[in-house]
Subunit: 276 residues, 2 copies
Amino acid sequence: MNVAVKIKSGAELRRLARSGEFTDQTAGQAPDHLQANVVILALKHAGDFLQYCLNNPKPCPLIGLSRPGETGIAGLGTDIDIRKDIPRYRVYRDGVLSGHADDIAGLWSDDLVTFVLGCSFTFEEALIRAGFGVRHIEQQRNVPMFKTRMQTMPGGVFHGPLVVTMRPYRADLIPSVFDLCAKYPHAHGTPVFWGDPADIGIEDLQSPDYGDPVDLRPGEVPVFWACGVTPQAAIEAARPSICITHAPGHMLVTDVMSDNPPKIDIGMADLQIEQP
Amino acid sequence: MNVAVKIKSGAELRRLARSGEFTDQTAGQAPDHLQANVVILALKHAGDFLQYCLNNPKPCPLIGLSRPGETGIAGLGTDIDIRKDIPRYRVYRDGVLSGHADDIAGLWSDDLVTFVLGCSFTFEEALIRAGFGVRHIEQQRNVPMFKTRMQTMPGGVFHGPLVVTMRPYRADLIPSVFDLCAKYPHAHGTPVFWGDPADIGIEDLQSPDYGDPVDLRPGEVPVFWACGVTPQAAIEAARPSICITHAPGHMLVTDVMSDNPPKIDIGMADLQIEQP
């Protein structure tokens, strides 16, 4: 499918992903529709991961949760089939990336639980709409991401460093950027830090741990947001026997408007608890 | 005033506190009305503290924020006078407790910014209503609180350990306790940990850092929640020239129902930024 094609709604994008016609990145598609990170885990690890997300709402803003084996996600779209509706999936075995797929129907079991987490596209769209440029988009690169020396709060077996994204802004604009992002706590919300990267354990802005470096211009300050790659680092540490995620940039596109996330129904009692 | 007197609403309690007739702890008063922690700081530190709260929503769930010098708190009550409506205040100078007061009108300046944070009374009321006992209330003690080895995410000059409260529950009840508390993210929300206290750096449950020890019965597991004393530890570390808080247990009682917190309007652009 031609990536230049503009898809208008989440329902349409998911229909095309489901039929195998759309396998591209989702940035810019279905504007104003909430896009999201997805993590699918076996019941054995779902209780711990639920706790990890709720302990770390900045990197892991939980906006959807399935019951075990359920292929829909309440509140995010009427007809979601989580086995097919993401354009591209990653499969991890024992915490190690083992392959990609356009469809995970063959891997599905009644034991799997789906977690849906807000993503940075939401506040980036809002920043651009408000006239604050987003450097990596202007430079047609992936956002630069860095492991920090800040540690997340553990959730059972899940633990690891906070991973952040970086976008540069003029110092005088930062308070307004902060206030705008405060409207999107379901999409990483406000920046967690700005200033000298060394203060949070980042040695070289031009050598990100993931993604691409971007230019800093005179008078600009690096501004850092909690990043949806954080749970990936926690999954690598916890080594669950199976974990399925969206492929980077290939998000779940929902029927929900970006500024109106659903209230979700937490169901620890439906999950299996590893601790204590 | 006789502490046995039952006050029905936040407005009534604040009127009595304002006139000096009520100077007691607020637990059990104005049932179902949201009670809250209060931190008042000079503009110089308000930007950093706003960032600290938003970086750490589990210990510091921000439910109200004033503009500099403003004595009301939008969204929490029509007639709040933050200089007089709390039954008892604590005054810190350079991060050290320097005194108590029933009224801070004499200390007020147009430079002060008020932060209102959710508190554990909210989920404790819900737990009791749902039939889950709360041990320290049954034993008529203060909740036991512990510094952990988990660190909060810094916000400018504010940083420090996560402080937690502990309430024991039978292991089989924990998932239901977790799900109930998930309804109150504006009041510390779900437990952050349960199991062996040593895992989070707590040596002896019978020697809390603040509050009183409570009994654990056979088959019970200690369950830990993020605690509103956490920002106090951060204030001690940051040593702001002035900081005024409620005295422990003497909360701001609002006009808002406990399960319906207001949306708040973040205003970093109105505050002074210390970093970078």
